[in-house]
């Protein structure tokens, strides 16, 4: 995950051997991409940016074309992947007649031909309509669970990542800023919202205990620390302050992202 220009696609291109890293090396399933290119590629299925298949060939011809570039792909595998992406009805039609979503699915079908260990998808929902996005998301999750493979997805759509991914790496200016499971990342940023009366005194009490800020809609905001919260609550009550509301708030990934990358919202959808 990263803002536009952060280096997501570049990373993926290096990972699949399209461009050379200026320094360092890429290792996929134990194989260095530069020195053992074919070995590494056998483990990978990928779509870099849009799935640019040959529009003048039919879906099936495209799959046959890419199957011939892989070692030992039986004809049955093509039928399998076609079924997997649900393109049986249109597979003998020219790709130029396909919708973007169908192309995306055909792209995934060709990426799945070689039973990859890693599936790399660069912006898989780019350009799809909302229904298509949801369908694709579901499809990718199913794939990961049923086929037992790792899926590496790059995206600048934060909502998508939050729904789709288990782990996330945030990239900015070509550097990984943070890597963790989505859950951990989010929970580290959990907040507690307090509604107290009178507010000024409540704030004074809490400030003695922890960092407090004030939100625009009249809440006091502190970090969420499970063990401390009841103590703070008791302290407030002992001080004669009525606690009207206590809210545990999981932040959206978006907030986290903005906070971590320090990028303004303008470049984020």
């Amino acid at each position: 995950m990263g803002p536009n220009g952060a280096g997501k696609t570049t990373t993926i291109r290096m990972l699949v051997g399209l461009i050379k890293p200026t320094s360092g090396s890429m290792v996929v399933c134990g194989y260095n991409v530069r020195t053992h290119f074919t070995k590494a590629m056998e483990k990978i299925g990928c779509i870099v940016e849009n799935p640019e298949l040959y529009p003048y060939l039919t879906g099936k011809e495209n799959l046959l074309h890419f199957a011939r570039m892989l070692p030992n792909i039986p004809e049955t595998r093509i039928t399998e992947v076609v079924a997997m992406v649900g393109l049986e009805a249109r597979i003998d039609e020219k790709v130029k007649t396909y919708s973007l979503g169908m192309r995306q699915r055909l792209g995934i079908a060709q990426a799945m031909l070689n039973h990859p260990k890693v599936l790399i998808l660069d912006e898989p929902t780019n350009g799809l309509d909302p229904a298509g996005i949801r369908e694709m998301r579901q499809f990718i999750r199913e794939l990961a669970e049923q086929e037992g493979l790792s899926v590496l997805v790059s995206s600048h759509l934060l909502g998508e990542i939050q729904l789709l991914c288990d782990r996330v790496a945030i990239i900015k200016n070509g550097e990984i800023i943070q890597v963790d499971s989505v859950k951990n990342l989010l929970s580290s940023q959990e907040k507690m919202l307090w509604k107290v009366d009178p507010m000024e005194r409540g704030k004074a009490v809490l400030t003695q205990l922890t960092d407090v800020s004030e939100s625009t809609d009249g809440y006091l905001v502190t970090a969420f620390e499970e063990k401390e919260i009841p103590k703070w609550n008791v302290k407030l009550i002992n001080e004669g302050i009525s606690v009207l509301e206590m809210n545990r708030k999981l932040p959206a990934l978006e907030d986290l992202f903005l906070e971590v990358t320090g990028v303004g919202g303008s470049s984020i959808e």
Binding site: T58, K60, E61, L64, D92
Partner: protein
């Protein structure tokens, strides 16, 4: 359907590979053959098919730029004009071989006469027209500049010798066709020294006619008189070759003389 497609691709690929190898072989063959020693060839001398007289009248024109028609903007020259006239008169198709080469001198004509094909064409000819000598004599105007030292007599002697050879050759391949030897005119008649040049041209013509008369059926056609009086009316802008009108007059001289045997009968 898909399978058929795959098969078709395979067949085309195989076919193309064979073609590719074949061309490679041809390339090798070409280079090898090009550099292999020439086997002394006996070129099968096919006998030139005896030309069937198709009932056409065959006209051959030999000589220099006058025969070529230089100066006539319509490109016809006297040969074209004579042909037009004959076509009209005979009401038949006429085959014309214009063998004139601009700038030709008598020695070149003599050499040209040695060619087999030329001999063949002459052999089939019903009438032969000839202009030669102008380039020998005038040498593009060179003679005029230096009349004294040019050695006219020498030139003339050689010319007559060449012309004699030409006539002999013509007669050796064809003793029936009439030869029309077209005489010289003096293009420089209006310039100074015209008396000298005129007398040289007259002498030249006289000698030519004299030579022609020693052969059978060689007709000397004079043109000197045509250009004698108003030479500039009939000369092209180069003041050497006739213009369209000049050629017309020459053609008018020759054309009536040409008769077709069938017509004669």
């Amino acid at each position: 359907m898909i399978h058929l497609h795959t098969k078709r691709v395979r067949y085309i690929t195989i076919f193309a590979s064979i073609v590719c190898l074949f061309w490679l072989f041809c390339l090798g063959w070409a280079v090898q053959d090009y550099y292999s020693a020439a086997s002394p060839i006996e070129i099968k001398q096919k006998e030139p098919e005896k030309a069937v007289d198709t009932g056409k009248f065959s006209l051959v024109a030999l000589g220099d730029s006058l025969t070529r028609g230089t100066g006539d903007e319509s490109g016809k020259g006297y040969v074209g004009l004579v042909t037009d006239d004959l076509k009209e008169r005979f009401g038949k198709k006429i085959s014309v071989h214009n063998l004139g080469v601009s700038g030709a001198v008598s020695s070149e004509l003599k050499n040209q006469m040695k060619q087999k094909e030329i001999k063949r064409q002459l052999g089939e000819a019903d009438a032969i027209m000839l202009t030669i000598g102008g380039n020998d004599l005038f040498q593009g105007g060179q003679t005029l500049i230096d009349i004294e030292t040019a050695g006219i007599e020498d030139i003339q002697e050689k010319y007559l010798q060449n012309l004699k050879d030409v006539f002999t050759t013509i007669r050796s391949v064809n003793n029936q066709a009439t030869v029309y030897m077209i005489g010289l005119y003096n293009p420089f008649i209006e310039l100074e020294d015209n008396e000298t040049t005129s007398s040289i041209v007259r002498e030249w013509n006289f000698q030519t006619e004299d030579l022609a008369s020693s052969f059978s059926d060689i007709v000397f056609v004079p043109t000197y008189d045509i250009f004698q009086l108003s030479v500039n009316d009939y000369l092209y802008t180069d003041k050497f070759h006739p213009n369209k009108e000049g050629y017309k007059l020459i053609a008018k001289r020759i054309s009536p003389l040409i008769k077709w045997e069938e017509e004669k009968k």
